[in-house]
Amino acid sequence: MRLMWGRLITCGGLETRPWRRAGFAVSLLMMLTPLFGQEPAKPDAQAAAPAAPAKSDQSPAPATEQWLTGDFEVGYRWLPGLNGNFNEYRSVVNLGEGPKLLGTDFTITDPKKRLFDRIDAWAHNWGGDPYNTAHVLARKSGIYRFAFDYRNISYFNAVPSFANPFAPAGFNEQSFDLRRRNSSFQLDLLPGARFSPYFAYDRGSGHGRGIDTWVLGATDEFPVSALFSDHTDNYRGGLRVELNKFHITLEQGGTQFNENDQNNFSGVNTGNNSSPFSGQAIALNVLSQVYAITGNSKYSKAIVTARPFGWLDLYGQFLFSQPKTNVAYAEAATGNLVVPATLTFYNREQLFAGGGALMPHTTGNAGFEIRPWRRLRIVESWMTDRFHNAESSLIGQQLGATSTSNSLSFPTFVNYNQNETNAFLDVTNGLTLRGGYRRVWGDATVLGSSLSQTGLLESGTLNRSVGLAGLTFRRAQKLTVNLDYEGASSDNIYFRTSLNDYHRARARAKYQIAAPLWIQADFQVLNNQNPAPDIRLDFQSRTNSVMLQWMPNSGKRVSVTAEYDRSTMRSDIRYLGLFLAPATSSYRDNAHTGTSVVDLNAHGGKFSLGGSFFVSAGSRPTRYYQPLARTSWPVYRHVYWIAEWQYYGFNERFYAYEGFRTHLFMTGLRVTR
């Protein structure tokens, strides 16, 4: 198990070879440096050219404007020492050491507007950091608009209490170290024209390692190493038609999905139940689990908006998709294994499974806004969302010399409907009242949560009436008050924890006390109850927050932003616990959260001090501090020295072994142009 941990940790971004992980950052920096390092003589020369004013009709950008503007930030980060649980640190923060391309942001404009008018590009957190992003936006007015977006997010999670709170040292299932990468490309042609086609491609993938469990009935579970691999490709294209009286968007798309996860083990794995079973030690020696999941989907989308008359807006949406999944799965295990129910011991197990799921999914939405009088607006909307998942599977299993096979085919139906009416009345220029009604209804038939592989279906219905009200008050740009309320009563709900009879209210006010001083206050409450005798759900959450912003002289010297948030959550629900004894599941969360930032500007430099704290009591008392100080000072023309200090402190009263605390230091340069 320690070896497994070692493998898991070394594939992360923190401990190993920050220089290698920073390779891409350095390469990118080298590519960018010539751009930013060019002498500014060229734009100056352009500005001095006598022909420049004459070109102003062709180019709206002033001739003195540089063709390249932007900045980049590079630095080195130290993690001088981490006290506490390293894996918890990686699960929560995950910032590592080494050279970093902290961020770059630049704009290229072409005064002659040949291939493009303008390209905006920005990227952040490269060089082994866990959250890499890159974006490019290029456009040529009236011809095209191109957008590219890339995210590479490290998804590490190894929280001992999530596996077993009483055995943090050796019980490490359900941990993983993944990279999820998402790319998206979109090209709009003739943007703003009456007919504008567009094309897009998205790809999302996840790759990494982790620890899964292989379960032997209710007898034992064996931690085994896992390889995760999946990707989804999405292609879509469409046409937007924008005319004077109406608009139509038609889109057709499709997805391809592949998942090829694998779990493997070789050695002696005694599992998590060390007690012998009927005098025999249970052990797993070899395991191979191979998933080969493929999927595809085609979908269609249509959006219509129209204003046939000045007092009437119409809209409608229709969405249809039909995702399909094909399953192939193979498993082989050897060891000293057992079927507890029959006390049958065996040495080899094989399992093959195939199957699939096909889920036609239709969503429709339509509505209108009518304005019979100048001060009155009525908005009506209907929505339906319905899907039907036809599921089937065939499983063949061989335990020792015994073979079984099982075939199953069953459906899942879910139908959801909603109708909502809202009326808006402008009582005065500053006061608007809103009232409305929403009805939600539907039905669902799903596979019941039976222990048998071939259990029954369960059906449920949903029927809810919701009253809506709201108020907006504005006075002289200085005061804004917003109230929002909905109260509901349900005849039928799907699940014990679903919203049943609830009241939800929100009040928000923003007031400008003086020219540089703003204050904002929020209050929210959700109270949900289900009085059914076997449920007795009582849920209440409240949030109060206040924010203050002080920016004298538009923040040229000093600006202060501070926010404090107090939230409470209380939930009680009845259930039958061990030996069918009545019990209550109670959850409490009383949290204080604060964030602040103070910016001081002087002599071209800047000093920022702030951060956040989170302190909670209740079912999982937690303290999490993130103070921060950052400074930026000019050292040469267009060059700034930057330095940053951060502290992360995390502590949980009931799970002290998960706590950590560390300082992070960073220094670097920012170059602007």
Binding site: A163, E221, R307, Y315, S545
Partner: protein, 323 residues
């Protein structure tokens, strides 16, 4: 007798004439308080006329230059839209009076109008766009949040594009939501890896909470990143499919690992899998409720259900969601 009758009638007619004259006088006097539309306007009250963007540029050159670098530049040059050379006045109305007096009161200022009126100006051009389909039913419109609350009409970039900028803008109003992201387990918004609009569509959506629709058009945006949990699965976990991810997770942030709604896994599960007789649709028609009868919940081994039931989002193989 007849003379007396004629005198009486004449007096009555005179009285009526007098009353009518008095009423007319009052009406005329009252009418003098209001502007008389029929009267020719004095030279000062002459309706303002369009003067063209070049005139605006004289004083507001920086704004003018920014607009010419922004997508709104098309308004200035596109003859089909009818505002060529008058991009500024397409929103601010005719500006001749303002150009003469330079008084702010002499020109329309959309930022100071009622939100619905401001939106109406934007929708003059943007009505027939896909965003309008969701706009009508969005909570932003319900709460009178106008287009210019988020969009910068005068800047070369009409809306914030970087994650950090978007988050700063949203958290300016949704302070309580931003506070949730200061909790230890959360989506990576404070690190700048994500933004609010990755999950929410500020213009409105058919999905609850203005969730973005992605991947298969009518699926929530969670599956854009968590594509491996999208399914469809041969063995679905009904709450995920019926109620969505928020049945078990707090996506904005939580003190509980994996952003769960409860402090330990078993409490999330037990609130539905509650040992109640099943499958018996109760009076409320609730789904779920099978007893985990053979699990001794006093043992740590059984307190985190997901150790064994690890495919809790849906399984391709096993109905017990074990593999």
């Amino acid at each position: 007798m007849i003379r007396m009758m004629r005198q009486t009638r004449r007096q009555a007619v005179n009285t009526i004439r007098l009353a009518a004259l008095a009423s007319l006088s009052i009406l005329v006097a009252g009418a003098q308080d209001k502007p008389a539309p029929a009267a020719p306007p004095p030279p000062d009250n002459k309706p303002a006329e369009y003067v063209g963007s070049q005139t605006c540029q004289g004083c507001h050159e920086d704004i003018y230059n920014n607009i010419l670098k922004s997508p709104h530049q098309r308004v200035e040059v596109d003859k089909h839209r009818g505002w060529d050379g008058k991009a500024c006045e397409s929103c601010h109305g005719p500006g001749s009076k303002h150009a003469e007096s330079m008084a702010p009161a002499d020109i329309r200022q959309p930022a100071k109008l009622k939100p619905a009126e401001t939106d109406r100006i934007c929708l003059t051009c943007h009505l027939n766009q896909p965003t309008h389909a969701g706009r009508i039913q969005s909570s932003h419109v319900k709460n009178n949040v106008s287009c210019v609350s988020c969009h910068f009409v005068h800047k070369d970039r009409l809306v914030a594009r970087k994650q950090a900028d978007i988050n700063a803008q949203c958290s300016g109003c949704h302070t309580d939501v931003w506070a949730s992201f200061q909790r230890p387990f959360k989506h990576r918004l404070t690190e700048g890896a994500m933004s609010c609009v990755d999950c929410h569509n500020p213009h409105g959506s058919v999905l609850p909470r203005q969730m973005q629709q992605t991947v298969n058009a009518n699926e929530p945006s969670c599956f854009k990143c968590h594509g491996d949990l999208r399914g469809p699965f041969p063995y679905e976990h009904a709450p995920m499919r019926v109620e969505g991810c928020m049945a078990c997770h707090q996506p904005h942030g939580s003190a509980n690992p994996r952003m769960l709604t409860r402090h330990e896994v078993r409490f999330v599960c037990l609130e539905c899998h509650s040992n109640l007789p099943a499958p018996t649709p109760s009076a409320t028609g609730a789904l779920g409720g099978t007893p985990p009868a053979f699990h001794d919940l006093r043992s740590p081994r059984f307190q985190n259900c997901n150790i064994c039931h690890q495919k809790v989002h849906g399984s391709y193989i096993d109905r017990g969601l074990l593999k």
